[in-house]
């Protein structure tokens, strides 16, 4: 069987999302591959251009912080989507819900509970108290319904055997959902017929689900229709597009710190009609900048008095303050144990193999194999500070070795996961590129996983770095509906648009 367009495409020694090792298309990709084959090169080029134009015209950009000036880039989306069949997604969904449920329980236990996981010896106390994400200021501040990870973005990768693994938990301020929705909107414009041939589950219910989850954590005094606002550091933040997008999707105000005032422990926003009370803030600024009275006093993007208002219970914020302790990469290593401890279940999605460096045996093992492992600082996100052993120079490895020996608590080491690859459009034509997946999980009155997520692509040949801040691309991610079930689109199933009930 020849595929024309895909002739010469090599899976090499990797798990390829679209093709088996022998070169045959995987069953759930067959139709898509056939469609691309039939389109022909010119048509494909045209559609790729169309896609780029859509993003450019809509001003969908992200900012790369440069050495001299910040650069505004148009969001890159690859024309070849990623497909996840229903059977695979069902497992991922359960696994993510399980993981986030356990993380919520853990954080509640640490901040307002009896710290049972510590007392029962599941995690060492010193590990928690030494975490830079552990906020003493957040102790004893309750969160309604314990929904501390209201929005979680759990990074998944597939290894050489196609097994999904959790690479890291992002439970502070995970970003990327706006691009999930924009990728989908763009794909429906540039490749409409392909949607007809697949039963793709929609993602555009996100705004409504997020608003519902946010209202779910409002203080009881807020009544039936609490006022929600999105708090952004401002237009120069790299994720500002997303902040504005989410405010628009929910139909709520997008506020900056300077739009808010706290009076007698109540938070108000300055509006053209005077001061208006705010009940829930979906804050997209880090803990350290939230409130200059309590945290960094040089923060100009925060709200003086916000923490006191939180403690007074007049307002809720999401995600909760202090979540950083839960996505500390050293604590991440304990999550499978925490799942067992709180839920009495085995973790459905395994971690990547992780070494904790304060343990002398593990540290020795790591230092002996430094050139074969990945070393990460425990508190960073966005791919910053990561050293990939096999690609690192001797000097870099020497620095890492020194860092580990100086401060072993601050680093973890992981086996290199040979990320799965997907056919992607590169400057040199179609080629396999490594990808990951960030699904988004909301904690409302129940834990809900948005079907799909952000598939990020390492666009440089052989690169494992998918972060958009470091030149990564993205793919629309299609989760297929089970064959004989109607597509469930709405959160409640109450207002399913007709067109989607095919």
């Amino acid at each position: 069987m020849t595929h024309g367009f895909f002739d010469g495409y090599l899976t090499e020694d990797f798990f390829d999302e679209a093709f088996e090792a022998d070169g045959a298309p995987r069953p759930h990709y067959r139709q898509l591959i056939e469609r691309f084959t039939n389109l022909g090169e010119d048509d494909i080029r045209h559609r790729r251009q169309l896609g780029e134009d859509v993003f450019k015209a809509r001003g969908i950009t992200f900012t790369v912080y440069g050495e001299h000036e910040d650069i505004e880039r148009t969001w890159p989306m690859d024309l070849f989507p990623r497909i996840i069949p229903a059977s695979e997604w069902e497992v991922i969904e359960r696994g993510l819900a399980q993981r986030v449920t356990a993380l919520n329980r853990f954080l509640d236990d640490i901040y307002v509970g009896e710290q049972a996981a510590i007392n029962d010896g599941i995690v060492p106390r010193w590990l928690i108290t030494s975490s830079s994400g552990f906020e003493r200021e957040a102790v004893n501040i309750p969160v309604p319904n314990g929904a501390r990870c209201l929005v979680a973005g759990i990074d998944l990768v597939r290894d050489r055997d196609g097994i999904y693994r959790v690479l890291e938990d992002n439970i502070r301020n995970p970003s990327g959902i706006s691009y999930v929705l924009e990728n989908r909107a763009a794909m429906m414009k540039v490749l409409p017929a392909a949607f007809r041939e697949h039963r793709v589950r929609p993602v555009d219910q996100y705004g409504r689900a997020l608003l519902r989850a946010l209202r779910n954590v409002a203080p009881p005094a807020a009544g039936d229709s609490p006022t929600v606002a999105v708090l952004t550091p401002g237009a120069y933040n790299s994720a500002y597009f997303e902040h504005a997008f989410l405010a628009r999707q929910m139909g709520v105000e997008l506020v900056e710190g300077r739009d808010l005032v706290v009076d007698d422990h109540v938070v108000y926003m300055r509006t053209t009609g005077g001061l208006q009370r705010v009940d829930v803030l979906y804050r997209r600024i880090d803990d350290a900048f939230l409130d200059p009275v309590v945290f960094r006093n040089d923060s100009t993007v925060g709200v003086p008095g916000l923490m006191a208002a939180l403690r007074a219970g007049t307002i809720s914020i999401a995600n909760a303050a202090g979540n950083g302790v839960g996505d500390d990469k050293a604590v991440y290593a304990y999550v499978p144990e925490l799942i067992k401890y709180y839920l009495g279940e085995e973790a459905i999605i395994p971690n990547a193999t992780t070494y904790l460096l304060w343990d002398p045996d593990q540290r020795k093992h790591v230092l002996d194999r430094l050139d074969q492992l990945v070393v990460k600082p425990v508190a960073e996100s966005g791919g910053y500070g990561i050293v990939i052993g096999p690609k690192a120079s001797d000097e870099e490895l020497a620095v890492v070795r020194h860092n580990i020996l100086t401060d072993p608590r601050n680093y973890i080491a992981q086996e290199v996961v040979s990320l799965s690859r997907s056919p992607s459009f590169t400057d040199d034509g179609l080629a396999g590129r490594h990808i990951d997946l960030r699904p988004f999980v909301l904690t409302g009155d129940r834990v809900e996983v948005i079907p799909g997520g952000l598939t990020r692509v390492a666009m440089r040949a052989g690169s494992l770095v998918v972060n958009s801040s470091q030149g990564g691309g993205s793919k629309d991610t299609w989760v297929l509906a089970p064959i004989d079930q109607p597509i469930d689109v709405a959160v409640d199933g109450d207002d399913v648009p007709e067109a989607e009930l095919v």
Binding site: G59, A235, A244, E253, V255, E256, R258, D259, V261, G274
Partner: protein
């Protein structure tokens, strides 16, 4: 609506109107410079700066006042916040911060405007034939006005945008008359053409006054026309309408409404014959000042809400002086 958002909209409206006004003035002045006419020797480029009240800002740069320097300063100079390129970039930034209030068409148009300007070799336009550039700016601004009218609900967003737009337009027309009035006095046909074209008013004027070069007619038209959309009266009426929308159904007038209403009715009921026999410059200066005052009153009423909290002593940090 957030006070800061209202302010962003107000200024976006002002910047866009200013960009259009600048493009039109430069276009007309460029055309005027092509022929030897009665206007020869008149310092046309300095007048452009005066109409836009940019003379001081220009002089500070210490450049010789000639066509090239004025055009660069008014079109591409990023250090001049009022230049076309800066103004459009600011309007886009402002729209970006209020994007959740705008229709997608509105955002895509302003974004496209900005991208068009970024993609152009404007230096080449200015040293060659600048028509295409000025057309682009005028058409884009007018399109935005149309898109706003066709795609946005008549809510606060629209009202603040329109308010800024109309106040800037009233100011530009007022200054245009003020700067050119002296030259209108001597049955000067070229001066009449230049003045009216700069306000895009020539065709409409002719329908009312044919080719009259009588300064009284020109002043009456630019100040008091009830039908011409760039006359000062027309703009103030529209601005009043926006304030009414913002005030809602309340029966009493707020401060901004009272002041604007006074200025508008004074202008509306001025006898133009008396106006031209008095000190025209002083009267127009006063009118300009009143329009600026309205902008200030609007700012106090809508944009500076809760400003008393900024200085609350309880938030002064240890070691920090009170501002």
């Amino acid at each position: 609506m957030l006070a800061r958002h209202a302010e962003s909209l107000f200024w976006a409206g002002r910047y866009l109107e200013r960009a259009e006004g600048t493009a039109r003035l430069l276009d007309v002045t460029y055309q005027g410079s092509l022929q030897v006419a009665g206007g020869e020797g008149r310092d046309a480029w300095a007048h452009v700066l005066d109409v836009l009240q940019a003379r001081k800002e220009f002089d500070r740069r210490g450049r010789t006042l000639d066509e090239g320097a004025v055009c660069t300063f008014l079109v591409t100079d990023r250090s001049n916040p009022g230049s076309i390129v800066s103004g459009v970039a600011t309007a886009r930034e402002n729209f970006r911060t209020v994007r959740e209030h705008l229709s997608s068409e509105m955002w895509e148009n302003v974004n496209g405007f900005h991208l068009d300007l970024q993609a152009r070799n404007i230096a080449a336009d200015l040293t060659g034939e600048p028509y295409a550039l000025y057309d682009l700016v005028k058409v884009r601004c007018q399109t935005l006005g149309g898109v706003a009218a066709q795609s946005m609900p008549r809510d606060e967003t629209y009202s603040f945008l329109r308010l800024g737009w109309m106040i800037e337009r009233a100011l530009i027309t007022c200054r245009l008359l003020n700067v050119n009035y002296a030259s209108l006095g001597h049955d000067d046909y070229d001066a009449m053409l230049l003045t009216l074209r700069s306000a895009s008013a020539l065709e409409a004027y002719r329908r009312s006054f044919q080719s009259s070069t009588n300064p009284t007619h020109i002043a009456a038209f630019l100040l008091q026309s009830r039908s011409f959309p760039r006359s000062v009266l027309f703009c103030l009426q529209r601005a009043e309408h926006s304030l009414e929308n913002l005030a809602g159904p309340s029966t009493s007038r707020n401060r901004a409404q009272r002041i604007l209403g006074r200025i508008r009715s004074q202008l509306e009921f001025t006898d133009i014959a008396e106006f031209v026999t008095g000190d025209v410059h002083a009267t127009l200066d006063a009118l300009e000042q009143s329009i600026c005052d309205i902008a200030d009153v609007v700012a106090n009423q809508y944009f500076r809400v809760g400003s008393e909290y900024a200085l609350q002593s309880q938030y002064v940090l240890p070691g920090e002086a009170m501002v």
